[in-house]
Point group: C2
Chain length 121, copies 2
DNA sequence: CACGTACATACGGCGTCGGGTATATTATCT
DNA sequence: AGATAATATACCCGACGCCGTATGTACGTG
């Protein structure tokens, strides 16, 4: 389990991560929402924690898990080398879609750049 | 081997993909550049092809493999939900880096948007 | 202090993936 | 057609990952 890619290869772990995007959750909440046995949740959380995807704080007898950004950025950085490739291949399509978006006036996160290529952290 | 994430979990496969970013390559070229036995290369290429990461054309007795963009976009789309999260967490840092970049005048791909969030294909 | 809750860990079993070796297939050349 | 190069596939095996069950630990409450 050496790389971030092996971590996110597991469907249950991806489910947990997606769940944690909304807000931090306790083990029990994850267990109930994803309908998976508690030891399974704990084990996956351990893997995710050791890989830096999540961190936890103790709140009474429960532990709240939340996301950490770094590993995701690592995946993003890896993906970056391929973005150059696929942007070339889909350039015409992209321009077409851009025109579509502007004409249908679907405003998405107005003033924010969507993604940074190669974040340095 | 059901999802794109399992495909890219394998280090040798990622090496092959990275190699193919530059240009299409034959099996033998991959074999030599990555110093891995030929059956290993063929097996991984099979997996990559069936997952849609690469396609091949026959050129005499050799087969040239090249990348296909779709699976990468799938990974990118998955990452997108987390981009919102980490951009919030690193907003201040991001603005700082942006100022750094502009002041050092490091122009990157001038007129091109780096990545499309949620590509529709 | 006994008990219940919330979570973590230990252990055994099983399926699957990747590596290695050998062999089959397809194309090229003489 | 025979030989050789390039690639694909078959088979066996060892390792590792995930699951389920059982048990351990820590915290809170009566």
């Amino acid at each position: 389990m050496t790389s971030v890619f092996e971590i996110i290869a597991e469907p249950n772990r991806r489910a947990i991560l997606s769940l944690l995007v909304g807000a931090e959750q306790s083990v029990g909440e994850i267990e109930r929402q994803l309908r998976m046995p508690q030891p399974t949740v704990s084990k996956h959380l351990r893997v995710l924690r050791e890989a830096g995807f999540v961190e936890s704080t103790v709140a009474a007898q429960r532990r709240l898990y939340r996301l950490k950004p770094e590993p995701f950025q690592e995946v993003d950085a890896w993906l970056d080398q391929f973005r150059r490739f696929w942007s070339v291949h889909l350039d015409a399509l992209e321009r077409h879609l851009d025109r579509m978006e502007r004409s249908t006036a679907t405003k998405k996160r107005p003033g924010k750049k969507p993604a940074r290529p190669k974040p340095r952290t």
